[in-house]
């Protein structure tokens, strides 16, 4: 009886140990498989995410590049030219500015611009309105000579109505005798 009990205990112990061993082995194997699958899933998602990020980054950089290019175009187009008192002939520096502008307009053939002629406050209003037209037209005609289609440009004179600098000395006046260039959509 005692032997039988010992045997039973031993057998139970072995069974328990065996079961324990079996159970441990099963758990270990399952955990490893799941982890592997998860890592695999995570890697794919991560990769997709990275690709998405790279795509977005590239898009962003492209947008920034385009914006910078457009800003450079706008800046170049917006560069003003200046005139002497009661004059509308183009000075050498004004021609240089217009030549750069012409290249930009050729490189960006969809752009259309308005050329606005302006005067300082010293003359009288009606004559200045005509003088502003002469100044705008001088730039317009030079750009046409440089190969820009006339239909891409229009002119307007603001006379002395829109001074850049509201001051009353030559420093202000010299800034106000100008052509402004604006891109129209």
């Amino acid at each position: 009886m005692k032997t039988a009990l010992r045997f039973l205990l031993y057998g139970t112990l072995c069974l328990a140990l065996g079961l324990t061993a079996c159970a441990k082995k099963t758990v270990t194997d399952t955990s490893a498989d799941m982890s592997k699958a998860k890592v695999s899933d995570d890697d794919a998602a991560r990769q997709r995410q990275l690709e998405e990020e790279r795509r977005r980054q590239a898009e962003l950089e492209e947008q920034q590049r385009r914006a910078a290019a457009m800003a450079a175009v706008k800046q170049e187009v917006a560069n003003m030219i200046f005139f002497d008192f009661d004059k509308y002939d183009l000075k050498p520096e004004a021609r240089e500015v217009l030549q750069k502008k012409a290249q930009i307009l050729k490189d960006n053939s969809v752009l259309k611009i308005i050329i606005a002629g302006n005067c300082d406050e010293r003359g009288t209003e009606e004559y200045n309105l005509a003088l502003g037209e002469r100044r705008a037209r001088a730039a317009y005609e030079y750009l046409v000579l440089l190969g820009i289609e006339a239909g891409r440009m229009s002119i307007v004179s603001y006379g002395e109505e829109r001074p850049l600098d509201p001051g009353h000395g030559e420093a202000a006046w010299s800034k106000n005798r100008r052509d402004e260039f604006t891109i129209v959509q």
Binding site: D86, E126, L129, A130, G159
Partner: protein, 449 residues
Amino acid sequence: MTKRPVDRPWLALLLAAALALCAQAAQAQRMTIDIFGPGQAKVNIIQTQPLPLQEGQPLPAVSAQLRERIDRNLGYLPFLRKVMATDVIGGDRVNGPTAAGIDFKRFQLSRVDLVLTAGWREGNPSGLADVELRAYEVFTGSLLLGKAYYELTPKHVPEVADRFCAELMRLLTGSGDFFNSQIAFVRKEGKSKNIWAARPTGEDLRQLTRLSGIAMSPSWSFDGTTLAFTYVGERNHSLGILRLGDDKPKLVNLNGSSVISPTFLPDGQLAVTMDAGGQPDIFLLNGSYKVVRPLVENWAIDVSPSFDAKADKMAFVSSRLGNPHIFLQNMRTGEVNRVTMEGRYNTEPSLSPDGRLLAFAREMADGEHRIFFHDLATGIERQVTFGPGSDEDPSWAPDGYFLVYASNRTGQYKLYLTTRHGDSSIPLETGSGEAKSPAWAKLPLSSGS
């Protein structure tokens, strides 16, 4: 445009009364003053204290207001010299408003030429006051002018004063249009500029356009019913047209990008500078704003046309010789002659209605502008304004006697009145903000006296 606040019932009565009073005046020898000649005589005038038409009756409160208003109006006429009550023996009181009540001798002793009287009646059936205004020549004691106005309220005072003074001026000088005219001008508010108008006495100040951009260079039609102006938009100019009674102006797009200095001819056509041909030239437009023909075609700038009352001549500015100068074109032959030989910058011509005197602005050595007159008959030029600041935008009154111009002598551009004799300038009331580019015209017949 707003209807002027004057009730009409009393006007019909006025005519009959005026005829009756003037019948007596017609008998009298007329006193006249030549204000258009080379010199200008001065007439001494005194306005006596108002009196009741029936002795013992009370004077209405409005009597003092009318006296003050007439006194103010007389101040606009440089050919009148107001005599103070203290300079007359016995002062400015008379016994009655008619000749029987006036001791002309004591006015003669004080060298008074004209005596004005006002006789009032209060408590007529309407409860309002009536007035009889008279002007007597002191030397002969004869009645020069008599007018009666009925049912007056305080709001009628400026209108009655203007009408009486217009008649008095017409009687003395042959023209009373000063008190029967209007001045359009450009007033700046913020970044926008709009057209306003007022009587030369500052009455009836009103805004004519309410545009968000810049309105410039108003010009009246000769009948005073329509205004043309330049509207400067973001991308081009338009021709603005405003007819009396319209709430909003019509903006007309013309060929080219520029519409500068539109100016009416006496027949209602317009002369305007456009750049349709590639340079600013002056074109004649018909009533539908279509080009009839070019008036001035030149490689240079040609702007600011101005016509006499018959459109025999057109003055304009041209830079064909380098700097802007005034030129004159014979409208029949097309012959063009240079007018200004002095100075380097002569602009803004205004031709007097009789075609004799050309007013313009010349830039002086200090960079400021001054108003000059050029006598087209003699070629003699005369500086009329002397600052300080810059004097610009001369514009003749329809009578050819007064002239309005803009000056920034107080730091801000405002309007001032002077005459063809260069009399002392009188500021014009235009309200707040900068006022420039005046244009003068008679009131339309329907609203004038």
